[in-house]
């Protein structure tokens, strides 16, 4: 079962590098990550040896870049008709869904791994708490995974990659938005405390922020894992549902 999932993951991962998508994505991601960290995030001016400015912008970077990775996962198979080939090979639906997701996640982890020079820089300049930084990386990877699961699920509903991209940006934005002070204030005035807390606990931002601060809480891990599982499950249901249409 794992072997078959990896057959799919391997093909999908290679597919990213078969087109200029991989190169374009990696260059833009690294350029923007650098720009946000050093220019907008005032990495040097703060005079602190940590990577807060680096991680702080990841939700916004991922908001636009992750849907670009996930949009093709199923939409392209539908457009070219290869979905017919793929789903008539002896794979379980779960293997296809997880395999594709793992490939996309693996690809974003490569992008994340390429930011290691930033980590080296901060270690060279000062003495940061590397545990906090590692926690930030884990948070960033989990957030990318959550966005990708949302994107994969949305990609399975459409033949058009453009529609998949735009809908995924909107869906991820909503996931981010619920953690915003403005949104919470909106609920604060009238809604019961439990609702305010529920809304804010839905947000990727709330959970990500605490990880960037170096707090590795089981609830945050659980949150990201459940978002991934829920959306991948929905992804499988959608694919299966189309079969009966």
């Amino acid at each position: 079962m794992i072997a078959r999932t990896l057959v799919i993951a391997r093909r999908e991962f290679a597919a990213y590098f078969a087109t200029p998508l991989a190169a374009v994505f990696l260059v833009i991601f690294l350029f923007l990550a650098g720009l946000f960290t050093f220019n907008i995030g005032s990495f040097y001016e703060r005079g602190q040896a940590d990577l807060r400015p680096f991680f702080q912008f990841h939700p916004w970077l991922f908001l636009f870049l992750v849907p670009a990775v996930s949009m093709r996962l199923w939409a392209e198979e539908r457009r070219t008709g290869t979905i017919e080939l793929l789903t008539t090979l002896p794979f379980r639906l779960g293997e296809l869904v997880v395999g594709k997701f793992l490939a996309a996640w693996g690809f974003t982890l490569v992008a994340l791994a390429l930011t290691v020079p930033t980590w080296i820089t901060v270690n060279w300049l000062g003495e940061p708490d590397n545990g906090v930084i590692l926690c930030g990386y884990v948070g960033s990877a989990l957030m990318a995974g959550a966005f990708l699961a949302v994107g994969a699920c949305i990609s399975s509903t459409s033949k058009s990659q453009v529609i998949a991209f735009v809908s995924c940006v909107v869906a991820c934005f909503l996931l981010l938005l619920t953690g915003f002070p403005a949104v919470q204030d909106f609920f604060n005035g009238w809604a019961p405390r439990a609702v305010v807390e529920a809304v804010s606990s839905m947000s990727v931002l709330t959970h990500f922020d605490s990880m960037v601060r170096g707090v590795l809480d089981a609830r945050d891990l659980l949150y990201f894992i459940s978002v991934m599982v829920a959306f991948l499950f929905m992804n499988a249901l959608l694919i299966d549902w189309k079969k009966a249409l």
Binding site: T80, E84, P90, A244
Partner: protein, 251 residues
């Protein structure tokens, strides 16, 4: 002779459209069944239900004794399928693609290499093995699609228009291949070309508006045409069965 493909009262509705209305097919080992019918008659839909790509609204499909809906994995490992239009991954190379299919079918190492090699040889893909699909002609794409369906040497082959877009030489080669493969397998192939039925099929099934209107050997089909018709006799029978234009034809 053993029964390798069977459909029992297969139905498919797409919303308000009743595309397939109770199709019963039985294909034995050693048979090459030509699946004919006008565009939109339900050929592709029926084939998609046999391969498990679509779920029947009613009825069941069986491959080598396995119910496709109940045990799709086992059913899928016993058949090779060339989907309509021979879809392929445009950025993949022919060899890569066949290796992926072989891996998906569970082959590894030297067995995988040998299978891919044999598939490449069987439909003459040697010249293009390192080319990506987007650079291939329609004929080569179709042949790679056939190669992919043969890789695991399945007892059942479902081929949706295997010779569409091939030039006469390629058609001849693919037909010889199908004839040869059909000796110890059950093959269902859909086609628009009635000459193909005479050339490769041991049996013909004509489907019109979702129902089977003819099931018999090509010779029986030929015998349905009046003696006064000298040329294109099968065409005449086909038209008679699928349109209302010809006197005695079914509306």
């Amino acid at each position: 002779m053993s029964l390798l493909v069977e459909t029992r009262d297969l139905h498919k509705r797409f919303g308000g459209i009743h595309a397939v209305r109770g199709v019963n097919l039985r294909v034995q080992r050693g048979e090459v069944l030509g699946f004919l019918g006008p565009n939109g008659a339900g050929k592709t839909t029926t084939m998609r239900m046999i391969t498990g790509f679509l779920e029947p609204t009613d009825g069941s499909a069986w491959v080598d004794g396995v119910n496709v809906a109940l045990d799709p994995l086992r059913a899928k490992s016993r058949m090779g399928y060339l989907p309509e239009g021979a879809p392929c991954y445009p950025d993949m190379r022919v060899e890569e693609f066949l290796s992926f299919i072989a891996r998906a079918r569970g082959y590894r190492g030297t067995e995988l290499k040998a299978r891919v090699e044999r598939a490449i040889m069987s439909v003459n893909l040697t010249l293009v093995r390192r080319q990506t699909f987007e650079t291939l002609s329609k004929g080569y794409r179709r042949r790679t699609g056939i190669a992919q369906s043969l890789l695991h040497d399945p007892p059942v082959l479902i081929l949706d228009e295997p010779t569409d877009g091939l030039d006469p030489n390629q058609k001849f080669e693919v037909r010889s291949l199908i004839r040869q493969l059909g000796k110890d397998r059950a093959i269902i192939l859909s086609t628009h070309l009635l000459e193909e039925v005479e050339a490769v099929c041991t049996r013909a099934v004509i489907i019109n508006r979702g129902t089977v209107v003819f099931d018999g050997t090509p010779a029986e089909m030929d015998a349905k045409a009046p003696a006064s018709i000298k040329v294109n006799r099968l065409d005449h029978v086909f038209r008679e069965l699928t349109t209302g234009d010809v006197p005695g034809g079914k509306p």
